[in-house]
């Protein structure tokens, strides 16, 4: 659960960081883009100014009726009308460190119009730089008596490269920021959308895990409850078998009941072991080196009756008769081999052979169990370790099975850090390869 929380928080932070990053990037991108486009527009306007015509003006009130002034004023009005987002375009001149308007894009009748020769008293510092250093500048947002603006100023040079005029262009800063805030809003919505998905997934997963936990708690409890009466039966039956007052024939019957009881105990234990391994209840540090040969021999011993019934011979490799240490627990490994071998016997034809070999592969031990049984189809082989799965031909064969055995087997082997693989061919046989660690 903690791992999940870490995993989801990491993704959460990652998406949040990407969201914020994208927001910043887009904000800057659109902001700079708009400023650059303002400079370009101002440059275009400046290139349209006829310097010869303008130089004839004295920048005093009588010029208002000068045709050259009217031409300039008209072109500014026209240009402004084509650029719907620009509020003002204007041409200025600097005289004795003061800046004066020559003409702007407002019709002469407009109250916002700056008349010819009016001093621009609140001119921003950037505008002085445009005149003094010949640099194009963008400014804003700043507020003057007409409103709040984003502006671009570009210098107009004479033939010898001196700044003689400047062209200004203003756009409403509110409109500019409306676009930028929309971009931020859009990015935020997308980010929040993803964050909500992450949170929802996390909560769903938490719920799912809780359900699995409840399920496994229930199974564990049920298995525990079964173990008490089963143990009692086992003990009583053992005591009856050893009771000298009971005659031999009855004892045989009791012996049979005892075998069934033992089988029930093994089954409930398997369920408990599987749920325990599924939830890592058992401490991994407690694994010890155990002799896997013993568990194989014990498993074969436990399946003796079944083996006899089908007249199956089990061919053990020589190596198995010597101790062979692997990491695990004897009882659980015994369960593994009881499962694998009982499957081999169950699905093999009468009188066939099951081969059990053991070999070393580096630091690992490999146990191979090979039968000559009905096999598993290529399509179904990938599902055989899923809980409660049974292959079609296994169902048809009439052999009883729950589909739980291989699932449990795989869980136990993986719990010990091992690997189980299966290869098979229909009607030829099945091979299970179990690899266990020694370190």
């Amino acid at each position: 659960m903690k791992k999940d929380l870490f995993y989801f928080s990491t993704i959460f932070c990652f998406i949040l960081a990407i969201g914020i990053g994208t927001g910043f990037f887009l904000y800057n991108y659109f902001h700079k883009d708009e400023l650059n486009s303002l400079i370009s527009r101002a440059n275009i306007i400046s290139s349209l100014i006829d310097l010869d015509q303008l130089s004839t003006l004295s920048i005093t009130t009588p010029d208002v009726s000068n045709q050259n002034y009217l031409n300039l004023k008209n072109s500014l009005i026209k240009i402004s009308s084509y650029n719907s987002d620009t509020r003002f375009t204007y041409v200025m001149v600097q005289k004795e460190k003061k800046i004066y308007f020559i003409a702007d894009s407002e019709p002469a009748s407009s109250p916002d119009s700056s008349p010819l020769g009016q001093q621009y008293t609140e001119a921003p510092t950037g505008l002085y730089d445009t005149f003094n250093k010949g640099e194009a500048h963008t400014l804003g947002p700043y507020t003057d008596r007409w409103g709040s603006w984003i502006s671009a100023f570009v210098p107009v040079f004479d033939s010898s490269g001196n700044v003689i005029y400047a062209v200004g262009i203003d756009i409403d800063s509110a409109a500019h920021y409306r676009i930028l805030y929309s971009v931020i809003l859009l990015t935020s919505i997308v980010t929040i959308f993803f964050l909500i998905i992450i949170i929802a997934t996390y909560r769903l997963r938490k719920k799912e895990k809780k359900i699995i936990q409840i399920k496994s708690d229930f199974i564990t409890l049920a298995a525990h409850e079964l173990r008490s009466p089963l143990s009692l039966m086992r003990w009583r039956l053992s005591m009856l078998v050893e009771n000298s007052e009971i005659n031999e024939n009855v004892k045989k019957e009791i012996e049979e009941i005892k075998i069934s009881t033992l089988r029930l105990i093994t089954m409930t234990n398997s369920v408990l072991v599987t749920t325990a391994t599924e939830h890592n209840i058992i401490d991994h540090q407690k694994f010890q080196l155990v002799d896997v040969s013993i568990s194989i021999v014990k498993a074969i011993e436990a399946l003796k009756d079944m083996q006899k019934q089908k007249n199956i011979s089990i061919n053990l490799s020589e190596y198995l008769k010597k101790p062979c240490l692997v990491l695990g627990e004897i009882e659980k490994l015994e369960l593994v081999f009881i499962n694998l071998l009982s499957n081999s016997i169950k699905y093999s034809p009468q009188g066939s052979t099951v081969f059990v070999t053991l070999s070393s592969e580096g630091l690992k031990k490999v146990i191979v169990i090979e039968d000559q049984g009905i096999g598993i189809s290529k399509k179904e082989i990938k599902n055989i370790f899923d809980g409660f799965f049974r292959a079609e031909n296994a169902k048809r064969s009439g052999v009883r099975g729950s589909g739980f055995g291989l699932y449990m087997t795989k869980k136990i082997i993986e719990f010990f850090g091992g690997v189980i693989e299966c290869s098979s061919e229909i009607n030829k046989g099945t091979t299970f390869k179990v690899t266990l660690n020694t370190k």
């Binding site: 173990r227 143990s231 009692l232 003990w235 005591m239 105990i265 409930t268 325990a276």
Partner: protein, 126 residues
Amino acid sequence: MEHNKQKTVLIVDDEPAFRMLLTDLFTKNNIHVISAENSQHAFEIITTQKPNLVITDIIMPGESGLDLIEKVRATPEIAQTFFIVLTNSLKSMDLVHALNEKVTIFLQKSDIEPNFLLQKVNENLK
């Protein structure tokens, strides 16, 4: 058999059938049995009658078998009492290991035969 030389085993289990079973088993093998159905009662018996060995379950109503062991270990005059934990609980294994390992044997009810328990009891009664 002289009664005063007979060893005494205390059985602590909340399940009457299992108490009866163990009583049968030990009585047949000439071991004197006292039984208790809960930890509190067991603790009184251990202090007053000082049995040679105690076989206890873990999960019982009220105090658990582990509580009993801890309580006994904390009482100097009975601290050395030998315990065999006989249970069906898988999870309690770790808890038992945490206790004094030298004088505690842990057995799973479903995994062993009566003779095995008898053997363990006899070994530790000597």
